[in-house]
């Protein structure tokens, strides 16, 4: 193993160009890459989602699961030289995130955060919420109280040149071209970071991105940056490496959500028929080029709560047709039984192809699908307002089902106008009860038990059409070391990443 080298400039692909890189405000996945180099959270997580100290040196959870006490590091300074204190933490989790970040709000609203002394904070809960310790993730990074308190967070001038505690400082944003981060010489981890600076380059064309990695002009690309068949090709090049680790924290699942308020989706047999008509292996092999796993249910297979023993839907056109016949949806002269609409995810070619394949596969059993074109805003608006028949997207299930899974199925989470809630209108008292009980339980075994029950029910119900679990590749130059070291993968701080000569 080589010794780490100091110096060097990391050239990273970034696409699309994020609207901004202030943590909390800009939560687009492309914003996270630079944001996580500038800001830090209390904890980090390993591949098994176990917490490790970061800005918090140590922590303690009371046995009743109601009180979390964090001891903060003392030698940390903001990029502008101010000291990092408990006030910053209290402000971030008690004020800032609650206002700007809807998902963080859902978690931290449950807690009362206060400072014990300058370097100790405590989170107090009314009822236990086991996932809290897994919630100090890359969406919940700490912002400087002295610059934000009392201001209009969204219009704060510092948003354009964010001040954090991370190993890299914001230097320049050349619009349309790159974001430049420079080394933070006062970083609290002595001798780190290794890299002198990082350029995040906006390269809009996937083929160009692949070419740049191929020629060694760029060192790293991740998530959707590359077309998957390019990944396959690039992985065979001697100077490049590929890893699919580092997305455990997100655990994204691709699915089609149906509007259960409408015919024929309200009929379980119709949903099951569609499950039988679709070939998940095709999604995995052709559309996602092997960078996916077949999804069997609502919980990601990387989660400790995953239940493999659920009803399986292998592609079986006969079964699908039998179910449709049973429902009374007989084929007409053209073999057409019914016509439904699918709102595709407007995030690029891969998603177009997924929608197009779905249309072709369902047509084989007599279900005619009309694809509805849309755009990100239109998709979001229609989905959150329940204005769809079927909508395809991927949801990050975030390790713990209480954080990422139950939101889609709880009947009291049917919140029209809020994205990533229970858009479909699924309502099952049994499911509600199981999810609610599991969320407040502090007994890991009991939670596993409850979640596995819930999974069986939902899968049998075909509450959504599960397709695949996404596996995002990170392709990087072998000269780059310590790229993916934990659950946040390339979204880690890169303090110990280094470039060989």
């Amino acid at each position: 193993e080589e010794a780490p080298r100091r110096g060097g400039t990391l050239q990273s692909v970034l696409w699309p160009e994020p609207p901004g890189i202030m943590t909390g405000i800009y939560t687009q996945s492309s914003a996270l890459l630079p944001t996580t180099k500038i800001f830090e959270s209390l904890l980090t997580y390993d591949f098994n989602l176990n917490p490790h100290p970061n800005l918090a040196e140590s922590w303690e959870i009371s046995p009743d699961g109601l009180k979390y006490t964090f001891k903060l590091r003392e030698n940390v300074r903001w990029h502008d030289g101010e000291a990092f204190t408990a006030d910053d933490v209290v402000f971030t989790y008690g004020d800032y995130l609650i206002e700007v970040h809807p998902r963080a709000r859902a978690v931290f609203e449950r807690a009362q955060v206060s400072k014990l002394d300058d370097h100790t904070v405590v989170f107090e809960l009314k009822e236990p919420f086991a996932p809290l310790i897994r919630s100090f993730d890359l969406c919940c990074l700490i912002v400087p109280e002295h610059l934000y308190k009392g201001t209009d967070f969204r219009k704060n001038p510092n948003n354009l040149a964010p001040i954090g505690t991370g190993p890299f400082k914001f230097d320049e944003w050349k619009r349309g071209e790159y974001i430049h981060l420079a080394r933070n010489d006062d970083y609290w981890r002595d001798g780190l970071p290794y890299l002198d600076d990082i350029y995040y380059r906006f390269v809009p064309d996937a083929a160009s991105r692949a070419l740049a990695l191929e020629t060694g002009q760029m060192h790293i690309a991740t998530q959707n940056d590359l077309e998957l068949f390019d990944v396959d090709r690039l992985s065979k090049l001697p100077h490049l490496d590929v890893t699919t680790k580092g997305w455990e924290w997100g655990s994204p699942i691709v699915w089609i959500e149906m509007n259960l308020r409408k015919e024929p989706f309200s009929d379980k047999r119709f949903r099951q028929a569609m499950m039988y008509a679709l070939d998940q292996n095709y999604f995995r092999d052709v559309i996602f080029q092997g960078y996916a796993k077949v999804a069997t249910g609502p919980v990601h297979s990387a989660s400790p709560f995953y239940e493999p023993d659920v009803p399986a839907y292998r592609q079986d056109l006969k079964k699908a047709e039998a179910l449709l016949d049973e429902m009374g949806l007989k084929p007409d002269a053209d073999g057409k039984r019914t016509t439904i609409k699918l709102l595709g995810l407007p995030y690029g070619e891969m998603w177009n192809r997924s929608a197009e394949y779905t249309r072709q596969a369902l047509r084989k059993v007599g279900i005619e699908v009309i694809l509805e074109p849309s755009d990100p805003a239109g998709w979001a608006t229609r989905t959150r307002n329940w204005d769809f028949e079927m909508t395809m997207y991927f949801l990050t299930t975030m390790g713990d089902p209480a954080l990422g899974v139950s939101r889609t199925f709880l009947s009291d989470n049917r919140k029209q106008g809020v994205l990533f809630t229970n858009h479909a209108g699924y309502a099952n008292p049994e499911v509600d009860a199981l999810f609610n009980k599991a969320a407040v339980s502090v007994d890991e075994e009991e939670r596993k038990q409850l979640y596995s029950q819930v999974q069986k029910i939902l899968v049998d119900d075909a509450a959504v059409l599960w397709l695949v679990e996404l596996v995002w590749p990170t392709v990087y130059n072998k000269k780059l070391h310590n790229v993916v070291t934990g659950a946040s993968g390339p979204n880690s701080s890169f303090a110990d990443a280094w470039l060989a000569e």
């Binding site: 692949a210 052709v286 072709q360 849309s374």
Partner: protein, 270 residues
Amino acid sequence: MHSWRIGVGAVLLGLITVMAIAAPLLAPFDPMAISGPPLLPPDASYLLGTDMLGRDVLSGMIHGARVSLIVGLVSALCSAGIGITVGAIAGYFGGAIDRALVRFTEFFQVIPSFMFVILLVAILTPSLLSITLAISVVIWPPVARLVRSEFLTLKTREFVEAARSLGLSHGSVIVREILPNAMPPVLAVGSLMVATAILTEASLSFLGLADPNMTSWGYMIGSARPVFRHAWWLSVFPGLLLFLTVLSITLLSEGLGDKSNPSLRGQAGH
């Protein structure tokens, strides 16, 4: 000298039209159906290869001709309708009506038309209807200008005065006396509108503003863009056909419009 252009153009365009009409008979596969392994280079059974999902490129191209030609023709007809009406009224009646209509036309000529098309289609969401509509809305000004200038000269021609002094109404003077004489150059420019419309539709599709329920050339090229370095056949062949179509129409229009003013060409953009 110019008849060969009409000849070559007509033959080419004829072939493409026949292809579009007989698409279900000619295409070896259903253009939407997954009929083979993905990204297969051209070979004996998939003459022009397959795309990312394993759909036959040749079949897609053959069916894509329909969208291109329909959008081209319908937009050109609509825009000719708008252009002729505006131009004829402005040129014939003159005065304040003319000034107002000229301003109106100028406005549509000044605005960055392709951006306007993009905006319209994006806002109305892409469909055959919205695309055709948006294209028609921006490409008519050259027709209107041409018709107006033809009317300005023709209306002072003595046969028009003669028709008026024989007691014909304004309507029949416009429609039966002047318009037929203004038609040849309008036909030339109008046929060029077809080409412009086809190119605009392709450009829109290329940018992702396409109706996903139809195969079109621009859409094929646009969706193949991520892979065009490896699967060149996905963008080269549809582009070639698009090019040939536009070329044939341009040849035809050149031939037709040889006598009309060529400076009116090249108005609407890509």
